[in-house]
């Protein structure tokens, strides 16, 4: 048996196609979110192929199901690398799945493109992060809240690494910026009973709730917040994992008027986005919506294709080297890869949920923010990345 099968040699480009891996949860609790990302990645691949492919070869997606189960993500990643010899992989949503895949990619010196906003404090040489890191989403959101005069914050999150780390950052920010954290609650992923937390919110009466719940739980949380008698006026919230897709599931009536923080909305202006939304609806149905993680997944495919083209090879080290500085016009605007930490420059956007389920931008950072996963540029965050 060959332990010499260095995937970078095979490079997934044998024959006249290039295999690329797509690894998301198609079953289990996370399927709700991740299936749409897979769809947008497949759309991007289709577009790349229509434009002639990469280095004259068509991309051939190999889709695997991570099944909302982190070890399965690791196993399937290994399979894509060792058996299918894919040139690169696009995949993951939860940070837990990324943490599970990370050693696999590092050990095999293979590439992963991870498309979801996350908690930062990480920079693997074998991962490209096309979603926001904290200084492109959470920190701007906090700045915005501070500007709005919000003084007390209640933290509600799912119980795993992203919300816990995000909240750690929020607490550090609050301490340095004269805000107080009046409560912090975690519920298991998939939890759907929020009446007690709603009761606690009612007692704590915070100026704003910072919501890092992920997946299904958001639906239950907002429905129960609403029927608990709270509106966007009496209990404003800002969410960092609620996008158009989730709004549809929650029911716009239950969440309209609340804030979210992302880098992209379906309503984001620009010809590229109009084309993206149209193409997506044409492929998957007119009632479908697009969202930030979907866009980031779409971007990932485009960015990798550009890097490989520039490198003249799909070989991992070559792509990595070529990637730095690549800038594309993508649905959210101009996106540039930061060669140093393999994150991308992204424009931060605060949005207000509309009664029709769309999200209206109410603030943006003006220009793409340089990614700073370790928050080195923020003095208040000095103690965080120990």
């Amino acid at each position: 048996a060959g332990c010499a099968d260095d995937p970078s040699e095979a490079g997934g480009s044998s024959g006249d196609t290039i295999k690329v891996g797509i690894l998301h949860s198609l079953s289990g609790t996370m399927a709700i979110s991740e299936v749409t990302v897979r769809d947008s990645e497949l759309l991007a691949i289709e577009e790349v192929n229509a434009a002639g492919g990469v280095l004259g070869k068509k991309l051939e997606p190999v889709v695997e199901d991570g099944a909302s189960d982190w070890p399965t993500f690791a196993e399937k990643a290994q399979k894509l690398i060792n058996e299918d010899k894919v040139a690169t992989t696009f995949g993951g949503w939860t940070s837990a799945s990324r943490k599970a895949m990370l050693p696999v990619f590092e050990r095999n010196k293979a590439l992963l493109w991870y498309p979801v906003q996350y908690e930062g404090l990480e920079s693997s040489p074998y991962i490209f992060y096309t979603g926001a890191t904290t200084n492109q989403q959470i920190v701007p959101a906090l700045d915005y809240l501070k500007e709005q005069g919000k003084k007390s914050v209640f933290l509600v999150g799912s119980d795993y690494v992203f919300p816990r780390t995000a909240n750690k950052i929020i607490k550090a920010y609050a301490a340095a910026n004269g805000m107080t954290v009046v409560g912090e609650e975690y519920t298991p992923l998939g939890n759907t009973e929020y009446s007690t937390i709603v009761n606690k919110l009612g007692q704590a009466k915070p100026d704003v709730v910072f919501n890092t719940l992920n997946g299904d739980s958001n639906v239950a949380f907002f429905k129960q917040l609403r029927s608990g008698g709270f509106t966007d006026k009496t209990m404003p919230t800002v969410s960092v994992s609620v996008a158009e897709e989730e709004v549809a599931g929650i029911g716009p009536a239950n969440i309209a008027g609340h804030l979210v923080a992302w880098n992209y909305y379906q309503t984001t202006e620009g010809a590229t986005n109009t084309k993206f939304v149209e193409a997506y609806k044409a492929k998957y149905g007119a009632t479908k919506v697009t969202s930030d993680p979907m866009e980031a997944g779409y971007n990932a495919v485009k960015l990798w294709a550009a890097a490989a083209t520039k490198a003249g090879s799909v070989e991992v080290e070559a792509v990595k080297k070529a990637a730095g500085g690549i800038a594309l016009d993508l649905p959210e605007g101009k996106v540039t890869i930061d060669g140093e930490n393999q994150h991308v420059f992204k424009t931060a956007r605060i949005g207000l949920i509309q009664p029709d389920g769309q999200i209206k931008e109410v603030w943006n950072s003006g220009e793409p923010v340089k990614p700073d996963p370790y928050l080195k540029g923020y003095p208040w965050a000095a103690g965080l990345s120990s």
Binding site: I32, E184, P188, N191, Q203, V219, A220, Q224, S227, G251
Partner: protein, 293 residues
């Protein structure tokens, strides 16, 4: 004030648990079928409300109650006819069988309705809540509570007053004797499974008011639902009612008094149940018999 509120919240959590587990007192409690697909019948009920929405608008939830009962019931009936009837007396085998079916049903839902959550709009009269001097009970929770109590009343009437109910209990206790007493056991099995599964459908409609509607909706409730039925004493309606509300209140208080409570509450509830079974090994309500096993 918070404490009083928690009592109300506990009752409403209890009502949800009860509704989710009522059907199991039939299929599990009476028939001994460990139906892991029960959760998927709940899901089917929820999607029924979703499907009716374009026609009935926000009143879909009300229209959906009887329809979901029928949908759940028919699904259950199909399951019973095709599979379960070969498995009476082998509850543990039904567990594996129905687990397989629940995987399939989830995937079916995903293929029909898509993986993302859908939403069901609550009727206007269910938004808002009742303020009882600072204690707030959302109308939709009151609705669920009333629904659960209504179902319990109907079921207990069925079981104790109607000959169909008596027949059902007879079949479950001694199938062969029931047959030689002239009971068409197959028909009774179908009726029992229909009702149990139908109740799951009703529960599904109610759950659309408070939580997500997606392919995995049911699996979120299944473990708790079984726990309620067991803690109540299998097949004991009274026990299930008490167990559901006790667990609901316990849950809400643990969650209230501990930081990071939601995680902790389940653990405490489990410990309490183990402790409780030390005193009452066969659930809250015990059906003893002199027979040896």
């Amino acid at each position: 004030m918070g404490t009083l509120n928690q009592l109300v919240i506990g009752a409403s959590i209890g009502a949800v648990l009860l509704l989710a587990s009522l059907g199991l007192t039939f299929t599990f409690g009476q028939m001994g079928v460990i139906n892991m697909a029960h959760g998927e019948f709940i899901m089917a009920g929820a999607y029924t409300a979703y499907v009716l929405q374009p026609v009935f608008g926000s009143q879909a939830v009300v229209v959906a109650l009887p329809v979901a009962f029928a949908v759940g019931g028919v699904l259950g009936l199909i399951l019973e006819r095709l599979f379960i009837r070969r498995f009476y007396g082998r509850p543990l085998d039904t567990l594996l069988l129905t687990f397989g079916l629940s995987l399939i049903l989830q995937q079916v839902a995903r293929d029909i309705f898509g993986a993302p959550n859908v939403q069901v709009t609550a009727p206007g009269w269910l938004t808002g809540g009742l303020d009882l001097g600072g204690v707030r009970m959302p109308y939709n929770r009151i609705f669920i509570l009333v629904l659960a109590v209504g179902c319990v009343v109907l079921i207990s009437l069925y079981l104790s007053k109607l000959k169909q109910g008596r027949r059902m209990r007879a079949v479950m206790q001694n199938r062969q004797l029931a047959a030689v007493s002239g009971v068409a056991t197959g028909r009774v099995d179908q009726a029992t499974f229909f009702i149990g599964s139908g109740l799951a459908g009703v529960a599904g409609v109610a759950l659309t008011l408070i939580g997500p509607v997606g392919p995995t909706l049911g699996s979120a409730y299944i473990v708790d639902a079984f726990l309620v039925v067991v803690a109540g004493g299998l097949g004991q309606l009274r026990g299930a009612v008490i167990a559901a509300f006790a667990l609901g209140v316990l849950n809400s208080f643990v969650e209230f008094w501990t930081a990071n409570g939601a995680s902790f509450a389940k653990v405490v509830v489990f410990a309490v149940i183990i402790g409780f079974l030390q005193f009452r090994p066969q659930g809250m309500f015990v059906l003893r018999s002199r027979a040896l096993t």
